[in-house]
Symmetry: C2
Subunit: 105 residues, 2 copies
């Protein structure tokens, strides 16, 4: 496993691994349409600036996508991409064929 790839995966998981960010993801998960940031504020009891920063983090990791509509910015969850990244990791972890030079017998 390449170090760059490992770091990328770690960053992706770290982005999801924070309470308020995961709450935002869950919230977006329950919406069919894009939601603006103010609407998303409702799900966390933090300042709007904090939500703004968390959404930026999620966007940087490809977890959400945004679109600017007038003065609003609407976000949607990248369902397929996130799900497939998680499944890829799950498959890797379950796969016993990728053995290397461990201290196995």
């Amino acid at each position: 496993m390449d170090a760059v790839e490992t770091q990328k995966t770690a960053d992706f998981l770290k982005a999801l691994g924070e309470f308020n960010r995961l709450s935002l993801v869950y919230n977006l998960c329950q919406c069919e349409s894009s939601q603006n940031a103010m609407c998303l504020c409702d799900c966390c009891s933090v300042d709007a600036s904090v939500v703004s920063r968390h959404l930026k983090t999620l966007a940087e990791r490809g977890i959400v996508t945004f679109e600017k509509v007038g003065r609003e910015k609407t976000y949607r969850l990248n369902r397929e991409e996130v799900a497939s990244q998680l499944r890829e990791l799950a498959d890797l972890i379950e796969n016993r064929d990728c053995k290397r030079g461990c201290h196995d017998d």
Copy 2:
């Protein structure tokens, strides 16, 4: 989504979302048998005490399991459990049926 459950999931993802810990997981992933901590040290260029702490974190989140054999402690990856937690999250994220009172039309 219950806050306690959300926090648990976030903690799980955060445990995986750190470079050295993820490296340890990948390393264990490639081993059929349990590996002791010293062997696992090889995969990260950090002090043994750091590896010890990371393994403790992973164990606390149920990602690895350990067994004490003499003065050694051997670790194995909880493949099925970790994989199924990741898949559960993937399913949740892809599932559009769980809509709530968003600002959807």
